[in-house]
Symmetry: C2
């Protein structure tokens, strides 16, 4: 039997968690012979519905599922965990500005950052609840957990971008590598087609349509989440849950040679990004729990303006929550 893994999930009665928890409990991600202990956090109003999710997890009879605990106290949910998946956040109500949303979520992530001091020494924290980059910034600034153990999720954007390039090129899923989405999980993100590769060739050498790449492609990836809401009638849950699993996998396994993956991590000044900002970068993982930002990726002047724009957005978001940082 492999070493048990303890996984905290916040927003555990929500839609993303409903697509996530069963895939974790099945052993798909941590291995069929690795016991999984789930620690589910919800707000008091959702604790009853959460009990129904627990019943359904029980009803799957998953061999790896060693225990389930529910709580409305982050200190309790995060106690001793190896992974903390911060999925829950207050959603945007009609008429609410992005800066309002940031202010409303801020205090939640202050509290969760502090509560993460109770986690296992090897904890990795993945922030998914939006605005995830700035929520992650707040949490890591309020925690004694080292900043390199935090990331915010850019993987859904990466997957969307890789999939769209493959489809446009008439190539199968999985044929696109080296897809970095720079900056913020927001409408200003920059999905970098210049450095993406399709079956090993640079995307612009395969899709010879610069207008499509700079305009339709970038716009479609930025607006994909809103399009799904319009068409499906609900926000992306299953694909977001899937991206979380990809994130766990990416940080746990050694990255294939010559490839990279996207996640937002605390900058050390790479690519001119202010140190301390949580910014989407190209990463490589050793598979031993540490990772590094891939440096020296070339960027056209046009791409540099895209990066600068999203950098400005994240600086602004940081200013909005300045009082919550330390």
């Amino acid at each position: 039997m492999a070493e048990p893994v303890r996984v905290a999930v916040t927003g555990a009665a929500g839609q993303i968690a409903y697509n996530l928890l069963f895939r974790i409990a099945s052993g798909e991600i941590f291995g069929k012979d690795r016991p999984v202990h789930l620690r589910l956090l919800e707000i008091p109003a959702a604790m009853h519905a959460l009990q129904g999710v627990v019943m359904e997890l029980e009803d799957c009879n998953f061999s790896p599922l060693a225990s389930i605990e529910t709580s409305d106290q982050p200190e309790r949910a995060f106690d001793g965990v190896n992974w903390a998946l911060l999925v829950g956040s207050r959603p945007r109500s009609p008429g609410m500005e992005r800066s309002d949303l940031i202010r409303i979520n801020g205090p939640i992530f202050v509290g969760q950052g502090k509560a993460l001091n109770r986690a296992a020494p090897d904890v990795r924290v993945a922030v998914v609840g939006n605005p995830c980059n700035t929520n992650c910034l707040i949490a890591l600034n309020n925690s004694d957990v080292p900043p390199e153990r935090f990331s915010a999720m850019m993987r859904l954007d990466q997957n969307r971008a890789a999939s769209l390039l493959a489809r446009r090129a008439g190539q199968p899923m999985g044929s696109v590598t080296n897809m970095v989405v720079w900056g913020n999980h927001s409408n200003n993100q920059y999905p970098d087609f210049e450095n993406a590769r399709i079956n090993g060739k640079l995307a612009p050498d395969v899709i010879r349509d610069e207008t499509w790449l700079r305009e339709q492609f970038v716009t479609e990836i930025r607006q994909r989440g809103a399009m799904v809401i319009t068409i499906r009638g609900s926000s992306s849950s299953a694909s977001a849950a899937n991206a979380i699993l990809c994130d766990i996998h990416a940080f746990s396994q050694s990255t294939p040679t010559n490839d990279w993956f996207s996640a937002a991590v605390c900058s050390n000044g790479e690519y001119g990004v202010d140190p301390g900002l949580v910014f989407g970068f190209p990463l490589r993982s050793s598979g031993q729990g540490d990772w590094s930002i891939v440096e020296g990726i070339p960027m056209s002047p046009w791409a540099q303006t895209q990066l600068n724009k999203v950098l400005d957005e994240l600086r602004h978001e940081r200013d909005v929550v300045k009082d919550l940082l330390r």
Copy 2:
């Protein structure tokens, strides 16, 4: 690259499918190197929302996902498929009797039975949409696909029962084997604790509480679906989707020695069940596409009355749809 598999899913914009499709497309069930072609069927009113599900499947960038087609025509959705997962059915509205529900769903499964004539010669059909036993009976009576290629799902009941016995015995998930749920996926099903084994020992020798087994256990399994609706506020979707994956696995792999699994299949008269009824039995699969009913399992007089009761229910359901059978 392994042989591609073509999988039709009906009710593809519904909640169960939303938890099912992503786990199929990920390669979790058919293998990461086996291309999967999804054929998604919905009613015309749900085709728009289904497009949102397709977008999210694309957004996962799943390597095994070779193609997705959507249709509102079963003849088209079932063309050449190796698996047909009949998840969709009309739900019960307030005040509707079970017999009303059976009559409303009947014509859907007449049409789907006929359309299954377009499937691949090795097709397996799993009926999940309720009332699943009788929907399956109708479909197989209206199809040229051999009856042994049809089953109706008892696996959610099996998983619920195995999990509850394990928890009651203080044993881990996966420690219960030989769990058969006899009869109908309904309130009259009989989850057979007498023959279930916990770590290889007969359950009544481990849980020495016959009253609990005959009363609380049986009742809780029969009412579990209703309890989830009450507590979670929605019906069991993720656990139902998981049971479908277990079903696919059980019929595809050779059953472990001395174990069996539960599914409702067309009776040949085993255990006194009328030939032709679709009844939950203990099965063993060879892993080569064929299976057999495990015969000679002992049953107490009390258990026999449980079996007779659910047999009567299924005979009554058959009478209600007699004009739809051939």
